[in-house]
Each structure stands twice: as structure tokens, then as C-alpha cells.
């Protein structure tokens, strides 16, 4: 049988995370504790500190909500069109998905919860992709720096392979989430492939690329570009090399690794 101290801690956790706990606790703190196995003396203490305990509920919930709002402004704006942002955050908190002490883990936990729970999927078809794209910005900007290998060529050639910054991500979405903003949070229903990278100053960029360019960017890291173009059935090698050169000039690629 759990100790009274453990039951007190569990009661506190329920109070902090359950969506309806604020009202239930306010209505009858002693009953709130009794329902969770607390002895009357502890229930009386909950009653005595009823108002002060609310401070913890507010602080804990505000902390999570403010962090999400800092990094997901478009997602927030999207849901606020239906007054659903706070209910969404509340449902996330109630899902008990936060298992580590690190604030950096809150954002990925939120994306994972959105994906697994399907929350709001029917009402907001762009929701998960939008939140994921904003998370991508967080991820790419903060990815640990790694030294650029020596011997890279700045010039595209059929014999070379592509080398991308380890922070760079190639992603595809069913909606053009990169075009949404806090003022226009509904992303156009046009599928898009994006090359998400950071420049020399660490600033995030998302370049829309065609499907064949996305395929070349993926394949060209594995095999020499000439081979990649052939495998993908892309006949115009000159145009492809020009495009890759342009991406490298924009710092979207680290460079070209000559074949050994």
C-alpha cells in the first residue's frame, strides 16, 4: 500500500496536470484528497492551503504554455482562430507526457503527443504539420555545431557527392506550412518539399524544392552526383549542377565531397 507521503505527491501531480482538477480542488480540497486515499488530517491541510496550492498549478501550467507559445506562434494562432489553443495545451498537460526535467524536451514531447493522440486532426488538418515545421526551426537552429570536413570542393561536379550540415533536414508536408504566419496561420493545401537549414549566422531557412530536387539531395549524399542523376532518370545534368551550385552558394549545402 502506498505511503501517505506518496499519495500526497500523487495528489499534487493530479492537481497540477488534470484539466478539471482546478475546479474540483477549489470546490472541495478535502474531498479531492480523500478520493486519492489521503487521511483526513492531510485533507484538512489541503483545505488550509487551498489558495496557496493554486500558485503551483498556475505556475506549472503557465510555464509549459509560455514555452510552447514562444516556439509555436503560428500553431498557437491557428488554434486561437477556434479558441482551442488553451484547451490543446491543457489536453497535452493532462496527457502526462513530460518525463524529463529538461525544458528542451517539452517541445518534442508536444509534437509526439499531437502525432500519437491525433488531437485536433479533423478540425485543423494542418495542425500537426504546422507544429512540426515550427519544431523543425527550433531543432535546426539549436543542432550542435560540428566541424566542416576538410577537402570539400565549393564547386558542383558529377564526380562529387553532396555534403549537408548535420543540422539540415529534408522534409515533405501535405501543406505549405512554411508560408503560414501568425497573421495567416492556415497553410495552403499544396504539398511541399523543404530543405531546412541554417546559414553561417545560424539563422533558419526553409527552401521549397521540387520533388526531383529533394530526391537528388537525398541520393546525391550516398553516391556521386552523376550516378544519382542516372538513378533518378534526370537527364539535364547541367541544370541540376547549376541548381546544386546555387544551393551551395546560399549556404544550404556544406559543399561537394570529391570521390576518393
Amino acid at each position: 500500500m502506498p505511503s501517505q507521503e506518496l499519495l500526497l505527491q500523487r495528489t499534487m501531480l493530479d492537481f497540477l496536470v488534470e484539466s478539471e482538477a482546478g475546479a474540483a480542488f477549489a470546490a472541495d480540497p478535502a474531498a479531492f484528497g480523500r478520493q486519492r486515499g489521503l487521511e483526513p488530517a492531510h485533507g484538512a491541510a489541503l483545505l488550509r492551503f487551498q489558495d496557496r496550492l493554486q500558485i503551483y498549478r498556475e505556475a506549472s501550467r503557465n510555464g509549459t504554455q509560455e514555452l510552447l507559445e514562444q516556439f509555436l506562434p503560428v500553431t498557437q494562432a491557428l488554434l486561437e482562430t477556434g479558441e482551442a489553443w488553451e484547451p490543446c495545451v491543457s489536453a497535452f498537460i493532462a496527457s502526462r507526457s513530460l518525463t524529463t526535467p529538461y525544458f528542451r524536451d517539452i517541445l518534442p514531447a508536444f509534437i509526439q503527443w499531437l502525432s500519437q493522440s491525433g488531437w485536433g486532426r479533423d478540425a485543423w488538418p494542418t495542425l500537426l504539420a504546422q507544429a512540426h515545421f515550427e519544431f523543425l526551426e527550433f531543432l535546426v537552429e539549436r543542432w550542435p555545431d560540428e566541424p566542416r570536413p576538410q577537402g570539400l570542393s565549393p564547386h558542383a561536379s558529377l564526380e562529387a557527392r553532396l555534403l549537408l550540415d548535420p543540422a539540415t533536414r529534408l522534409v515533405q508536408y501535405a501543406h505549405s506550412v512554411h508560408l503560414a504566419s501568425p497573421d495567416q496561420p492556415l497553410a495552403p493545401a499544396t504539398p511541399v518539399a523543404l530543405l531546412a537549414h541554417r546559414d553561417g549566422e545560424g539563422v533558419f531557412h526553409a527552401l521549397a524544392v521540387t520533388e526531383s530536387t529533394a530526391a537528388l539531395l537525398a541520393k546525391g549524399q550516398e553516391v556521386p552526383l552523376g550516378e544519382a542523376l542516372a538513378a533518378l532518370g534526370l537527364a539535364d545534368a547541367g541544370a541540376a549542377l547549376d541548381l546544386l551550385q546555387s544551393l551551395a552558394d546560399q549556404e544550404a549545402l556544406w559543399g561537394f565531397r570529391p570521390s576518393p
Binding site: 505511503s3 507521503e5 501531480l13 497540477l16 496536470v17 492531510h42 491541510a45 496557496r52 518525463t99 526535467p101
Partner: protein, 188 residues
């Protein structure tokens, strides 16, 4: 000296441990185990708290002192936390500190706080108040030995120059504590 997680879930809040004998024994065991696993001395810090969790079997001071003594570990004395708790629970901070095992203090923290309605919250987002600076000076004089003092500020950060001025005020109080220790008897 708090808990942040329950049953594997993290709250990201510093929650008060119930002030019971059982919780005190449990905390001592955990601290001893942690200390055995660490290659460096462990210091425990006293927190601000706004409510007791459950029916207390002892005051906070007895809980904290009992853990420090029982676990035989060092104390990171947060003077501001004592002061904020004294405002929220209505006690004399000097009497509180006087009753504690001061020989265990290895470091002192000070931070800013803000008042929200009837409650004072430890926010680390405001300048150190004069009463806290005076309590710091008094505490150092009572300790009678030099320990590091850390200024905590992680919200509403000021310009460096303003922080340096604040640091200067703390340094003055620090030096004053050892320049006129004879005055301390009249405060104790």
C-alpha cells in the same frame, strides 16, 4: 530540498516535500545514496515554498536541519528563500537561521522576489531587496567565515552595468559583515 517528479512524470516545479518524519527519513536515505555515488561533496539548498503539502509533523526548519544532519551533507543556504518564506509564513528570519546547523553552510544564494497579492514569490527577476542584503550581512557575520555568495538572476535580466552595481552592494555587505562582527551579538 524539494520534489519535482512523481511516478516518472516531471512537473518542472520545485514542490515542497511533506514535513513528516517518514519523508525526512526517505530524503536522508536518498541524499546519502546520492552522496555515495558522487565524487564531490553534495550541498542541499533550502527552497521557497508557498504551502505545506499535507499535515506537517514538524516545522520546515526541523525538517531541513534533520535532513542536513541525518545525511551529513553541506548546506547551500539561500538567504532570500528564508526571507521570502518568513514573509509568507510570518516568522523571524534571523531566529530561523540562528536555530540551524550553520557549520554546514558552504555557499549562500541571494535572489529577487516579487509580491503578487498576499503572496511573495521567489522569481529571480527583481533586484535584491535591502532587507535581504541586510540578512545576508547578518548571516555572514554570524557564520564568522567567508563562503561564496551567488547572485541569482534569470528573469527580466538587467544591463550588465546594473547587475555589477548590485554585485557591488552585495560585496559591500560582505566586507562589512567581517569588519564589524561585534555588532552581531546585539542582533542575535
Amino acid at each position: 530540498m524539494c520534489f519535482t517528479s512523481v511516478s516518472g512524470l516531471n512537473t518542472h516545479e520545485l514542490l515542497p516535500i511533506p514535513f513528516t518524519r517518514s519523508a525526512q527519513r526517505h530524503t536522508i536515505e536518498r541524499v546519502r545514496a546520492l552522496q555515495d555515488a558522487l565524487p564531490v561533496p553534495l550541498l542541499l539548498e533550502n527552497i521557497t515554498y508557498y504551502a505545506e503539502l499535507g499535515a506537517a509533523e514538524m516545522p520546515e526548519s526541523a525538517f531541513v536541519a534533520g535532513v542536513l544532519e541525518g545525511a551529513d551533507c553541506g548546506w547551500l543556504l539561500d538567504v532570500s528563500n528564508v526571507y521570502v518564506n518568513s514573509l509568507n509564513f510570518g516568522f523571524d528570519p534571523r531566529a530561523w537561521i540562528s536555530g540551524m546547523p550553520l557549520d554546514r553552510v558552504r555557499q549562500i544564494h541571494v535572489g529577487g522576489y516579487e509580491k503578487f497579492g498576499e503572496v511573495t514569490i521567489d522569481t529571480h527577476g527583481a533586484p535584491i531587496s535591502d532587507p535581504v542584503i541586510e540578512l545576508l550581512r547578518w548571516t555572514l557575520a554570524k557564520l564568522g567565515r567567508r563562503v561564496p555568495v551567488l547572485l541569482e538572476r534569470d528573469h527580466h535580466l538587467q544591463e550588465l552595468q546594473a547587475l555589477l552595481l548590485e554585485r557591488g552592494k552585495l560585496q559591500e555587505a560582505y566586507e562589512e559583515a567581517f569588519a564589524r562582527p561585534a555588532l552581531e551579538d546585539s542582533h542575535a
